[in-house]
Symmetry: D2
Subunit: 351 residues, 4 copies
């Protein structure tokens, strides 16, 4: 890329993922934020919607309404962190104007026929779907260099696919039904105040939600298919627990005969050798979402239980970073030929 | 029982479950605490080990060393809330002296042959095991009246067995493998300060532990067998989440053909009709551990996912009450012919 | 009172204090809830607005619109837990109909001239103010028996006045300026979802609010005057910390010469000897809001620092119980000639 | 400094501040960690004591015993993050060997005569005290360039002195007694498991500690004297609240006549104009510790209450960064002639 920086736009800068994008992009050595878009918050300053970003020089800048033509006039790279459905409405114009787009919504992650059932709307731009690259750099990175449209994965699917796909591909676990138990903090629930997002409703709470129809279900199935070549039927049960950041997925699969925890662990370790953001734990050690908070790292752990014929695969990540904004930047780095780790934190803020 | 109160001893009063027993027994209309035993804390006052109990008149009483003969001389009913293995050492003498015993440890929950593998010691009093009643009042209550030794269930097994056994018995789910994902707060981890029980290690943490060899695994299998007549192979994966009280178990079973969430729910509702401490949620509603905090209530929810052939059963309870001290008192009430609800809270302290 | 129960109405049953009132009244041996009123939530069931109360037989009852004539037709005792200003609109009719009223709003706590400055409205029923008894049972209890209108104190003023008034009255601290630093959890902020009441905004947050114009300021001054006979100028700085229940006030006063922590402590211990809900800690011990959670207890601690001539008085209570619903019931008990402790918890739910 | 990096040692790398130093130094462009010392943990690897640092290449390095001669042989700059008293034992040898030392303990912050009373030991190296620079860069930065020994301030004094000293110096508040109310999370309490540092003891807890004899009291008095030229008598009451990172200090001072919140705010804004890590909030806005988490920023707010003649000054910071490791690096940057902001985060990880 030489020394020149890339002009970057963030659409949906007023949301959780948008705020995290701005926070991370502000210290990226090759990206220069030149457009901040929002819908309802247009006209407010960045610092008004994200007071922790007030220290940025662009903290006093007004959020704009995200008109694609204006965006494309100044930005080479666009992150769309809009509500599901809203991304697909602006991406065609951005692509037509030549922008590289990384979409953090779910709008380009599935096949067209999945949208009515799981997202509740027919896809408005099905022609773009074949060109969208599902951006899981560690397993599906070969299509990223030069990609014009990246579908950035959801937080839960990132954890499940990275943990299970290598084991499926290697035949250490059987295809078929996979039960996935998800746990997450409240930052995944967005910035809209509701009775259930209040502090008083969440302290001390452990509760399932959107069971059994969470929209990440078909994404897990598709991601596993793309990354392993095998078909899986996913039952996904997400739960809220009292924390802000952090996703842990615990996947229950059928273990192939004769396989041990050490075999599973070795397979994952080999799959992610030299990958800067994946930490495979030695057999017997336990992942912890807290260690990943503030970093782009995912921790993975695999356990065999021959007694019941089960493989348990556990993944932990920061849902706003490796599960959203961090992985989006990782994808953008690779799409534009920059170093994969550029601008991304590899150490969590702990404790 | 007439108007006379029953003399009660709590052995292990310095622990988490012991403290909760004292707190609840202090307002029980038919029980009179007359002996508080402890091992390491013997010689300290109750208020020194449990400052929140300082208001009790017995707050200034010294904890005693739990000698069975002294205990039996004053107490008709004994709760043993000792570490696993320590209960079995004192229960024979208490039983021989005629005391009714409710054991909160795991020492009388399994068959003798299970102890070496899951608890790490051969059972010291196997002769007593056949007489021990597994104290799950809602499903196995017929053996409780007059019982001399009650094995009080563990917190996780209480949630799993109450949720799954009626469905197994009715054939709505298949026997065979059941995967159980557990989530709990820190109060289940005891009162010993360790690096992992510190606040700084737990805030923001979501992490599995003791996977896949938690000692509640065989108890779930045995409880399901006792209560449903069917054999299940349980894979159990417990997780810690940042709260103090609360257990949620999410059980993944194979759904029988043609079964819906409504069928599952109706089966549970029928099984627990008029049971004061079981709340079966209407299909589509979600359990919440927070609502059970401070009460002896368990919330249950069942969901069918025909797409993947899965039944998901979720239970939520306060691990120190319905999962320990509250259920122990419920068992004692029934063993002694008192009203089942006597002295037990049915409303949580919320929010 | 004989064996007959008293018919009770709760107006504002959909709010935080209202829900806590219903939870506590449900187990009160002499009170019988016969009317649940609400404003915006009228027409919903109790369980819809307070799911943790679903187990109550009145859980399925519809909340009514709180018409005073209907209320007075069925209830002898009325708790008004309405927004500030709304209580004063209904209390005159309730009083005229002969009801005993305990008001949990701020509407009868101050002198008429204070309302415009601190609550933003002229008092709509100033004629009732002279008859309103400020309900701090431990210090101002002599006017409670037979009282027709009790102004139930605020959570912060309860803690400050109980801690400081005896020391002022005894001359151990000087009148004049008192700085009060308050810390509270989120349950004091009501049930309305706002950006700042969300979990994501509160986890990890420590922040002042409404500084320096919190409406509890003049109430502290008036309460101290009533209970000690001395005038104090109160500067009050409240802070939010990440918990649900709990108020701690730390008051900084000028120490009289020669006074020690032991003298201060002895004065408080004497003032509250035999009072069931006040726990004065020995000199050197520290209060903890956690120990009071779920109980009607206040913990008090007094510290002298002769080096700087300062007395520090710290109080801790559960803001929904001793700071609201519990103290209201305590006041009602005394107003109606019932035992002071009737229906009130004296042990916290700990940990 | 040219392009060469500076060899750096961290003594006490196994502690909370030590771990944070390593985390921050790992991304510092001019520092190269070449020695990690510890006392009890010597022989363990960095990743064993700080698993979140496992991703660092030095994660597998063994912690060494901190012998000063060995340290001085490889390191030009030494951070001593040892227990109070242990730093003073090693600093003389390090200084004699020519190392620049930044001490994070309290060993060089006070005058020699203060140590017996407040730290419980006579100072072992009083000759070094006159050369120690109290490292508060924004107010006392002129002595930092070229300094050989920097006493890095405590977390609470940093917040109090930065907030109050400019107002004292300008005569907007009166000298004399200042009452300081502190609130902090658990990370300031170190890494030793104790009953009171457990999760179960801290969730829901608000409690004072070490009142009125916290060792930061004389440091606040000395810091205010150094930075304002005025004498203050500080009463300091620290409190624990349920969070990990974060300090808020609320200081109560006597307001000079005629002064408004706007005057106070303007004075602070002027004092910290162009200072990269101090954010003075506009009058009426409230600080929040959460916004500073993960950053080297302090937020300050000043409020006048003419009614009671009080000035309230509130400061909020991350106790492990601006209150410890971050400020230590800021001091080292200035001592060695590097840019003040080098390697330091100015944006918090929010939410």
């Amino acid at each position: 890329m030489g020394d020149a920086t890339v002009g970057v736009a963030v659409l949906g800068a007023s949301g959780s993922a948008g705020g995290e994008l701005v926070r991370l992009l502000a210290v990226h050595p090759s990206f220069d934020i030149c457009y901040l878009g929002a819908q309802r918050a247009a006209g407010e300053t960045l610092a008004q919607v994200h007071p922790h970003l007030e220290a940025l020089s662009l903290g006093t800048e007004l959020l704009r309404d995200g008109d694609p033509a204006q965006v494309a006039a100044v930005a080479e790279l666009v992150f769309t962190a809009l509500p599901h459905g809203a991304s697909a409405a602006v991406v065609p114009a951005l692509r037509a104007a030549g922008c590289t787009v990384v979409d953090l919504a779910g709008d380009f992650r599935l096949a067209a026929e999945d949208y009515p059932a799981w997202y509740g709307f027919p896809h408005p731009a099905p022609d773009l779907l074949p060109d969208a690259v599902y951006g899981l750099p560690e397993l599906l990175g070969e299509r990223l260099p030069g990609a014009g449209l990246v579908a950035n994965p959801g937080c839960y699917p990132t954890s499940v696919v990275l943990g299970c796909a290598p084991l499926l591909a290697a035949g250490l676990v059987e295809p078929g039904r996979i039960c996935v138990d998800g746990k997450t903090g409240l930052s995944g629930a967005g910035r809209e105040p509701t009775p259930s997002s209040m502090y008083v409703a969440t302290e001390g709470s452990i509760r399932p939600y959107r069971l059994p129809r969470h929209q990440h279900t078909p994404e897990m199935e598709r991601g596993l298919q793309l990354a392993s070549g095998h078909t899986a039927d996913v039952l996904f049960a997400p739960h809220l627990v009292p924390t802000v950041r952090g996703v842990v997925t615990t996947s229950y699969l059928t273990l192939a005969p004769g396989i041990t925890s050490e075999t599973l662990t070795a397979c994952l370790a080999e799959a992610y050798r030299d990958r800067p953001f994946v930490r495979v734990l030695p057999a017997g050690e336990m992942v912890d979402a807290k260690r990943t908070r503030g970093s782009n790292v995912i921790e993975l752990q695999a356990v065999a239980d021959p007694r019941t014929g089960t493989a348990v695969v556990v993944g932990a990540l920061d849902n706003l970073i490796k599960g959203a904004a961090g992985q989006a930047i990782q994808n953008a780095n690779l799409a534009l030929g920059l170093p994969e780790t550029s601008g991304l934190p590899s150490l969590g803020v702990y404790p």
